[in-house]
Symmetry: C2
Subunit: 416 residues, 2 copies
């Protein structure tokens, strides 16, 4: 099969590298060889690539009937969307690693693919090398998926892991991650949770079968996670992870992105460094967890190549991985219920009654004090709806005159 | 699609339960409803099942052209093999959860399916509800898989986890597992490693694309793992797991089943209780780990149902999940290299030289003594080929007159 690669950066060049490196295997498994006919770039010369392959003119690719499949690894929404759409309209399969375009335009592109009896695949757009999209399509086809919760961003997981291991502050660790090339110079998309939010939206669409807007997903990044939070987490047997989570309860959909306390028994607890992990809960399968490289040149490119092979195997039929045009509503964040970890000013003396009535109505209040920090203490609350919790929090501050320095939600794999 | 279920025990009845419970979802995802037309049993009445569904006569199923798919959940090789073969010859898709028949007759059945343009699926035969077969087929299609190592048996993992948590002996823990229904009355298939060995053979066939014999896989069970081994493991930061492992090095295949010391950084380390975990290493994807329920009625039945939906989606074409008739050779166990954990009689005094020359030529010998056990100590060896190690072991015992009470191999996710 003759293909084109549009966008020859980290992933685009990685795809060429994987196709070259594993040529024999790919031909054997797919049933035919894959030949790169064009590489679309913005300049006419790419070091190490034959000039004959390179084009700066999309219409050459679009109009060449020999090209049966196009890889899109440009990133962003425009012109990626227009290019993908034109290719599908010409009956070419398209494989994309681009979560932005899949999130924003997925349902339209899936419909276009269907109308033209070709495939739009996007395994690499969530979880990089982790086989999550196909697992949801195939292995969870007969399941009612009640929850998907994942560590979906390697940069933030690297930072949080380092903070835990080294006791360092967020700012210092971010700088180190930037120096090591694990974080971008403008790190906002990662650390403010937007990357995770887009991937979470794609996971919600895959499981609900319908479209959603990542803008409707409550999204909180990791900027406010401090070394003090991390010290408490360690002392209490938690790790702090940036999680993207979707839940389905009857016909209601919940979704959020937030840094959370993760319990030691949770399969996501040991997922460290740049690794990602995705925990999926189904009504029959119970809990499954997929773990692997969520990004990086070769793992992501290998996921793209698995999509190319799928297209070879489904050359003449639309496979239907994806979701419909129908938009679903995501319930407001206030409707989610969590335990909360709270760091409260002072000591508990004099406010035992308020701690109980606002946060721990059931059982004894367990107070945690960090060695050397006499000016604050922490507690874990009962399970409360977020809306209710926020009201209690402000009433508690008013009544006691004490500040709550920070709170983090606790993700309970066991209780949900 | 009209289907039949052959063998109505744990899994067969589970399949009916999942089809009933998730009916709407299954119809939506598959594109059509699934109707059970027959249940094959050895008696005419099954409590809770309409008599009209039950038949004791296989030929009724085989000869009914309305039946497009048959689930085989009888277990064992005969008559499962003959039944599956006849159904495929009639062009019916077959879904099996039966590792014995897939291991022993897989390549023949895959060829028969191909010849009759229908599908033979067996997702549930390895890892129960863990999506490993399809992940290897789809997501690893373009990868050179260098290693698959898994905790593939829930019974033994339950026993080993309990032994670690409670410090109890193998015999007592086995009895408790039997009492709780986690181990069979005749537990040999699980604890002697044969179940893991069959699954390991299927994984090797999936990744090599060729047939192999589980009888050729070196197989050691967990009977000789003692509470003392476990106490050392805990003290040294390992957990002991029964692993099934396959490695590909150039065109050579290695495979074994053995209880091993697993390091804390290994994603298999925290896989506890009846959960299974499968670590897959590819040349581009790096390390991925799939975690979930490796057995049990509903998780396994859900995997069977995912196969049924796959068959609906590939009604008219052979999908080619499987391997060829070509038999591959598995290298002898002696050709594998490991670090070894050794428990040696006495104290190290007087045999420092021998310890170094036989087992730890590089660096310092680190001696571990368990509190309260003065009659033995443990060391971890250099990486040695098994053949060489065994020769050294017996020479060491001869020269020093000391017994080596027990040894266990160390599985090093990082070094391999
Ligand atoms: N990197 C990862 O680990 C990873 C993992 C999963 C998914 N992804 C996704 O994969 C996509 C690509 O990521 P990347 O890391 O490969 O980004 P990248 O290194 O920035 O590569 C993008 C390439 O596209 C080229 N490009 C931009 N606009 C173009 C246009 N109009 N026509 C032709 N080429 C154009 C850029 O060329 P210039 O050099 O001229 O700008 C650049 O070479 C993104 O959607 C990203 O989210 C990446
Ligand atoms: N249980 C699990 O968690 C699990 C997980 C993964 C895979 N599997 C595999 O799934 C298969 C079934 O396991 P299972 O646990 O369901 O076993 P099971 O509970 O023993 O069920 C087997 C059923 O097959 C029936 N049967 C035996 N021979 C038959 C024949 N000739 N015709 C019709 N029915 C016949 C048995 O009936 P009788 O009552 O008359 O003997 C029994 O009802 C096995 O291959 C097993 O390895 C099981």
């Amino acid at each position: 099969m003759k293909i084109a690669i549009m966008g020859y950066g980290t992933i685009g060049s990685g795809v060429k590298e994987v196709l070259d490196m594993n040529r024999a295997q790919i031909e054997k498994k797919g049933g035919e060889g894959i030949e790169i006919k064009y590489i679309l770039a913005r300049k006419e010369h790419i070091p190490g690539v034959e000039d004959a392959l390179v084009t700066t003119d999309f219409s050459v690719i679009e109009n060449d009937p020999e090209v049966e499949l196009v890889v899109e690894s440009i990133g962003g929404i425009h012109p990626a969307y227009e290019y993908i759409k034109s290719c599908l309209e010409k009956g070419k399969h398209v494989v994309s690693s681009n979560k932005a375009v899949v999130d924003a335009c997925g349902s339209k592109l899936i419909r276009t693919a269907k109308e033209h009896n070709c495939n739009f695949y996007f395994e690499a757009s969530v979880g990089g090398g982790i086989p999550v999209i196909r697992t949801l399509y195939h292995n969870y086809a007969g399941e009612n998926v009640t929850e998907i919760t994942g560590i979906l961003n390697g940069t933030t997981n690297f930072i949080l892991t380092k903070m835990r291991e080294e006791g360092s502050s967020f700012e210092d660790t971010l700088k180190e991650a930037q120096r090591l090339g694990y974080a971008e110079r403008d790190p906002s998309a990662d650390i403010d949770g937007f990357d995770t939010s887009r991937k979470t939206a794609i996971l919600l669409s895959m499981t609900s079968g319908n479209r959603c807007r990542h803008e409707d997903i409550y999204t909180e990044g990791i900027r406010n996670v401090s070394d003090i939070d991390m010290a408490y987490a360690k002392a209490l047997g938690y790790s702090i992870k940036l999680l993207g989570s979707v839940q389905t309860v009857e016909d209601k959909y919940f979704a959020y992105v937030a840094p959370m306390m993760v319990e030691e028994q949770d399969p996501l607890y040991p997922v460290n460094g740049v690794y990602n992990g995705i925990r999926i809960v189904g009504n029959c399968l119970g809990t499954t967890m997929l773990y692997g490289m969520g990004a990086g040149k070769l793992p992501t490119a290998s996921a793209v190549v698995s999509d190319i092979i799928a297209a070879v195997r489904h050359k003449n039929n639309f496979q239907g991985i994806g979701w419909s045009d129908k938009m679903i509503e995501i319930e407001p964040m206030g409707g989610n219920a969590f335990r909360y970890f709270l760091r409260i000013e002072g000591t508990e003396e004099g406010i035992e009654k308020e701690l109980k009535s606002y946060f721990v109505e059931n059982g004894k209040v367990k107070v945690h004090v960090l060695p050397g920090r006499k000016d604050e203490f922490a507690i874990i609350s009962d399970i409360l709806f977020e809306e209710d919790f926020l009201a209690r929090l402000s009433a508690f501050e008013d009544e006691t005159g004490r500040r709550v320095f920070h709170y983090l939600r606790v993700n309970s794999a066991s209780e949900e």
